[in-house]
Symmetry: none
Subunit: 538 residues, 2 copies
């Protein structure tokens, strides 16, 4: 019998409690779209009572029409107050979210020490708050904070908290190991007992990774009867993080045989993990289980020769099931078939047996080896594939750029750029100023190209990310720049890599304009097809 | 009754199979000394049959007179050969190690596919090899490769492998989850069954982290009766790594109450983990359980105010038990209580009710509002707090910098920087080149300051991060730069924010040097205390 397990993602709320993780409202919306594509059931967007950024998120996410339920987080009403006049609860009710995640205390020590109120008042706070949110029409997910610690100290009180929430109408009772100190067998036996005691309730589990057991603890709860798992992509979260959904989901689905994500969605897992790490600008460990770049990489010589005979010798699952791939230095067959299928997807003819295909594949592999990453730069990859088919026209012949940043005490910083290039036989030398070096380069390059390609006025750069690739001697190492551009209809991303952040930015900038002008004719004299400029060639 | 669990460290052997991990013989010796100080029982040094570096390690480690037993790794003899003439086994016997870790196949599929021999010959290879090593006077630890996968496919054969090894005289039978695909309950029930079937044998457990369950699997085996755990510091190892001893040990000792390390050694755990990550030159995740810099870091305001009342509210153990410490992260999510406790942590007197404190808090809040983030920039925050106490001397008076990046077709990109400043009344104008703009600025600034502060030669930039703060009109928006610097003993992080990435980098760079020189006197003429330069003031 296949049990269905509900996946509750809190990357956008509890995940942002992680050190160094800070997401704008735009970032959150992008991640929400990706989570929805992955097929999670709930997306917790934030705490509308705590800041304006989250209110903006809830307002804008409604317009996206996602399938997942959006949930807003908040605490029980203030002690001694009333739920009806509690501002935080009102903000949840007014956020437009379909569900509320209400956190309440279940450890008597916390009621006394943190809330500084009585055990009875805490129960009243839980009861009032849930009834209020239910009256306002929301589904209520009750997060029993510190439930397992509470059970160790005062099991009767911890249980009375769950019973209060259940009687007040909570739709889910989620047991939280807030401090992350509980062991799998403790969780398993408590959950099994509760499921027997309260057969009418639906239980969820929320764990933290302080003992490196968050995933095991989630699995243990589900095996004992929990029906919902709360966690985050890549395990982001306070201290050591939350349960990592990128490990929880494939374990539940592939190892236990439970049903979590819609069919065929599991293969989106690796790309989702990488996308979220790019947006959060957090380095993803190569060895991250299931989705890391080294999760199916083989280094040992004996391992590699066995893998070539049969990959099951050293792989616990087929990497494609989670959208990852095997990496063996000798065999790159998987890479090639990926590229061919990507080309097909774009309507580019690329015969996998042609020397052209081999050439392009070799070139892309070489670029990846040098630090390019096309996962987050679809437009650069598409340009490379279209070049293989001879489809890409060069916009200009690059001659030089100069970039000057100058700062004097008491004066604002000044950025200027000078670009020299040829378009259709004509030499152009333009200068631009900007708020920063990339803005100055963008302005100088546009000034040159706009007379030939007036369409460029419609596009602008919408995001800019820099990643250092090797943290040895950082200022002398390579950087990868990702640029996102937009026009009225589309968004596209390009990549540049160099030891110099300005040169890497220039590469990504040029690619961004080349992509915007794919298939377009110059407005003035026709530009002759010339060797490819700036990008990837110097 | 307190059971004693034997800790077997294979950082120097299986750990080096991890991607990007490469240790010289010197590195290995340094780590061995540190592991011995921590009190592990076995240190597996490498494979003397595979390379000369490991032979050198075994020769030199004997001279160190360590308490831990040193063990050498190798496979069973070649098929169809004899143990007496097997070169790899001879090298183990001659290595001088007190113990041998002998790996043998226990999954029939592997015997056929990888070894390409018969099930009987595999048993003979195991029997011969163990008897040979025992005759040569070594303790023998038998690693049954793929034991759990073997049990799923051919349980009788997997058990016959263990019985063969036991009868040949193996001192330990170690059950390996080589592919990392087994679940805790599967491991627990198999180990319990084996302990009942073979009460005379001592069992060990060796797990991999492909399902993010290596720690849970190790604990499950020990709870079922295993007496030895094999793992690595920080969980280094092939693919997703081995069981992380930095989590296994405190879980066994603090949660289960088993005895692992000698008394008072557990407090060396965090420094050992950091030392090994430095030697291996692998970035240690801030959120690593128990030993990471964020493992006891608190960000949310409600959490922080509760922590200040009683740290047990949000900490599962006292961080000092594993040699770690509590850290309060300052962020917009938190309030005044965070800053006051941060100041306390640094030994800075900051009366929360003083106008100075209100001033500093106001200033930090303003900076955060403008995009500064101090949770990843402890050194910049410490400078601000020490400034409030009048403790910080300015290094120089800033006059100007210029930064030029130039690229011509077919030539490498060139970065130059020019810095004008005054130190102690003297005007300085210096120029520097670099691999990139920040490197050039760093070189020009150093050139000016080194004559006054020769200590700066000891520090270098070790990491550089850039984040765009507002992704509307990206090239015209603000960027935040985080710089990490190091000298022989310490690492510290600083922050800069500006619309211009070069200016933001300059700010972080200047702060990094100011922090390095806290409390230091200039070597030449004393620099007068002057208004604060570049950083945060323009």
């Amino acid at each position: 019998m296949t049990r269905s397990i509900t996946i509750f993602d809190t990357t956008l709320r509890d995940g942002t409690q992680g050190e160094g993780i800070s997401l704008s409202a735009d970032d959150k919306l992008k991640i929400a779209v990706k989570l929805d594509e992955l097929g999670v059931h709930y997306i917790e967007g934030g705490n509308p009572g705590s800041n304006g950024k989250d209110i903006e998120f809830f307002r804008r996410v409604r317009e996206l029409g996602l399938t997942a339920k959006i949930t807003a987080f908040g605490s029980t009403r203030r002690k001694g107050g009333s739920a009806d006049t509690d501002e935080n609860l009102q903000r949840i009710a007014e956020s437009g979210a379909q569900a509320a995640t209400l956190v309440g205390k279940s450890w008597d020590f916390h009621v006394h020490t943190a809330l500084q109120t009585t055990l009875e008042e805490n129960l009243a706070m839980i009861d009032d708050s849930i009834r209020y949110l239910k009256r306002r029409g929301l589904e209520v997910i009750f997060d029993a904070e510190h439930f397992f610690d509470g059970c160790k100290h005062n099991p009767d009180y911890a249980r009375s908290v769950l019973k209060t929430a259940d009687e007040a109408g909570a739709d889910w009772l989620v047991l939280c190991d807030t401090n992350g100190g509980t062991l799998p067998q403790e969780i398993g036996s408590l959950v099994a007992a509760l499921v027997a005691e309260m057969p009418q309730a639906r239980f969820g589990i929320h764990t933290h990774n302080d003992c490196e057991l968050a995933v095991a603890n989630s699995l243990s709860a589900v095996a004992a009867g929990a029906l919902q798992v709360q966690g985050t992509i890549n395990g982001y979260g306070e201290r050591c993080g939350n349960a990592n959904l990128c490990s929880v989901i494939p374990n539940l689905q592939l190892k236990f045989g439970f049903h979590c994500l819609p069919d065929d969605k599991l293969a989106h897992l690796s790309s989702t993990a990488r996308y979220v790490s790019e947006i959060a600008n957090v380095h993803m460990p190569a060895g991250q289980p299931y989705v890391g770049s080294a999760a199916f990489a083989h280094k040992g010589g004996i391992h590699v020769s066995a893998i070539l005979r049969d990959s099951r010798t050293y792989e616990h699952i087929a990497p494609e099931l989670v959208g990852n791939k095997q990496r063996v230095l000798v065999s790159e067959l998987a890479g090639q078939s990926n590229l061919v299928s990507k080309a097909q997807e774009l309507g580019i003819e690329l015969d996998p047996k042609s020397p052209q295909a081999a050439d392009t594949i070799g070139r892309i592999k070489d670029l990846e080896h040098r630090g390019y990453q096309f996962e987050g730069a679809d437009a650069s990859l598409e340009l490379l594939l279209r070049e293989a088919g001879g489809e890409v026209r060069e916009l200009f012949v690059f001659e030089s750029f100069k970039m000057l940043v100058e700062k004097s005490a008491g004066k604002p910083v000044v950025s200027e750029a000078f670009v020299k290039l040829r378009v259709g036989g004509e030499s152009l030398y333009t200068a631009g100023e900007g708020n920063g070096p990339v803005n100055a380069l963008d302005n100088a390059l546009r000034k040159a190209l706009l007379q030939y390609y007036p369409q460029l006025t419609d596009m602008h750069l919408s995001d800019y990310k820099v990643r250092v690739l090797d943290d040895q001697e950082a200022t002398a190492s390579k950087v990868r720049v990702l640029i996102e551009s937009r026009d009225a209809a589309n968004a596209w991303s390009t990549v540049g890599v160099s030891g110099n952040v300005i040169e890497a930015s220039w590469e990504a900038l040029v690619d961004s304009m080349r992509y915007a002008l794919l298939g377009q004719e110059p407005a003035a004299a026709a530009a002759a097809a010339e060797p490819r400029p700036g990008l990837l060639n110097h």
